[in-house]
């Protein structure tokens, strides 16, 4: 048997699948870490992106900083923060949020920036306040690009979330690190396959959301 069929057999084995540290539980952890990281990144990056997009100020600064954040080696961040704050979810979460912020930020401000200036001008000349221009025009019309940003952030994070296991947290990374230590390649491959499946499912969800947004906003 080759590694691939062995990996599938490993996944199918009820003993590996169920239970506390089983594949299903770890998959949920993986998804949960991903969503949490993207959520935290959104809370930081979306308001900031809208601020930059709406005012047109601070764009250079934000682009430079998020470019630098993109260049940070995630494993290094995990290790560093782990050394300071100890093992557990905190360190990988910091690294994952740092990973997600640039894409979300770019999606938020690009979405606002890409709107036809005549549309914003029209909204203003109808007597919308700046807040109303933002909430009634810029946010809805910027939604497709924001979803695009969330999408690429999510995909980066879902794969990288395996690093959580490196400092003692859960997720599918557990099987990767365990497999690496015991040279159990089918187990490693099984975990990698599941990460891919989760990524594809999330992709599908985003695809639907993007289509919905485009249809509702007639920006297609």
């Amino acid at each position: 048997m080759n590694y691939f069929t062995q990996a599938l057999a490993w996944i199918a084995d009820p003993e590996n699948l169920h239970g506390d540290g089983g594949l299903l539980a770890r998959s949920w952890e993986q998804i949960w870490y991903t969503l949490l990281a993207v959520l935290v990144a959104s809370v930081i990056a979306i308001p900031l992106g809208y601020l930059v997009g709406h005012t047109g100020r601070g764009r250079g600064l934000v682009v430079a900083t998020s470019g630098a954040a993109r260049a940070l080696p995630t494993l290094g961040v995990v290790t560093l923060v782990g050394l300071i704050f100890g093992i557990g979810l905190f360190a990988p979460m910091v690294a994952l949020v740092l990973l997600a912020v640039p894409s979300v930020l770019a999606g938020a401000y690009a979405g606002v920036e890409a709107i036809d200036p005549r549309t914003k001008d029209a909204a203003r000349s109808m007597g919308m306040s700046e807040w109303q221009v933002l909430t009634k025009v810029e946010i809805p019309l910027g939604l497709p690009l924001l979803i695009g940003g969330l999408r690429s952030a999510t995909l980066q994070v879902v794969a990288t979330a395996t690093l959580a296991a490196y400092v003692g947290a859960g997720g599918l990374g557990r099987f990767l690190f365990l497999g690496l230590k015991t040279q159990d390649y089918p187990q490693m491959l099984a975990a990698a396959l599941l990460v891919m499946v989760i990524a594809l499912i999330l992709e599908g969800a985003y695809e639907l959301a993007e289509r919905q947004a485009a249809q509702r906003l007639r920006t297609h």
Partner: protein
């Protein structure tokens, strides 16, 4: 009444769009600003609703200096029909028309009812209300723009080439419609066009502008055509090219009116009426 008092506007890049402009647009009348592209018409219009703040000078609405009125409430009580319709692409036509009443807190049902009336007024079929702007032709979009400008029942209406994107037939149609609306509603209208025929058709007062919004002549349509102030105005009117020179020719079936090239511009019916405004 709208009054421009020695108003100038220089844009940050140094363009002097308007220089020392003074004009009064009387209440209940249509004042048409006509001039070639880039002479500062849009800039003048947008000073009234503070989309542009003058570099110097004062714009008055009745006895209010607009610079002292906060822009948001000011804009909500001035109808503005934009040069490019300027509709919100993510909103249904009916919601576009109802924008300002909704901002003013009018209940949605009432705002929509009013929007439907306005659609009828500007000649849009009711079913178009449920479309998005990009599902309308350019001319239909402009009608939506006009309806939106009227929605909050403003006393002042700023119209920036509102009929620019339509063919001559529809254009004439919309002009007639505007004249009819104006006979009913008596708004104070500031209307911008670069089409002299449109200016003559719609204006109670016509203001012919040269570059930098220099006033070449102000007057009623009759005055302007009968006594152009200078050669610039005469040229602009097309008098030099003879495009406003008409002749009569008797034919067995009636009197034809011919243009400078001898082509029929229309036919003579009855006596010419004495002019009410003269």
């Amino acid at each position: 009444m709208i009054r421009f008092e020695d108003v100038s506007k220089s844009y940050p890049d140094g363009t002097e769009a308007v220089r020392g402009f003074t004009l009064e647009a009387p209440t209940g009348c249509t004042t048409v600003l006509v001039g070639s592209s880039g002479c500062g018409k849009t800039t003048l219009l947008r000073m009234v609703n503070r989309m542009v703040d003058p570099t110097s000078g004062i714009v008055w609405i009745d006895d209010e200096n607009v610079a002292e009125v906060p822009p948001v409430p000011l804009r909500r009580r001035i109808g503005y029909v934009m040069q490019n319709a300027g509709l919100l692409p993510h909103r249904l036509v009916i919601d576009n028309i109802a924008t300002v009443p909704l901002l003013n807190g009018v209940p949605k049902a009432e705002a929509h009812r009013r929007a439907s009336e306005l659609m009828e007024l500007v000649g849009l079929e009711p079913r178009m209300g449920k479309r998005y702007p990009d599902q309308l032709s350019g001319g239909q979009q402009q009608r939506v723009g006009v309806a939106r400008g009227l929605a909050a029942d403003p006393n002042i209406l700023l119209m920036d080439e509102p009929f620019g994107a339509v063919d001559p037939l529809v254009r004439a149609d919309l002009q007639a419609e505007l004249l009819r609306i104006q006979r009913e509603l008596h708004k104070t209208i500031l209307f911008v066009t670069h089409d002299i025929a449109e200016a003559l058709a719609l204006g109670d007062q016509i203001v012919i502008l040269a570059k930098g919004a220099r006033i070449a002549q102000t007057g009623t349509p009759q005055e302007v055509v009968a006594e152009p102030a200078d050669s610039f105005v005469a040229d602009f009117l097309g008098l030099g090219r003879g495009s406003l020179d008409l002749h009569l020719r008797e034919t067995p079936t009636g009197t034809l009116v011919l243009d400078a090239h001898g082509r029929p511009a229309g036919r003579l019916v009855g006596e010419s009426r004495t002019d009410a405004t003269a």
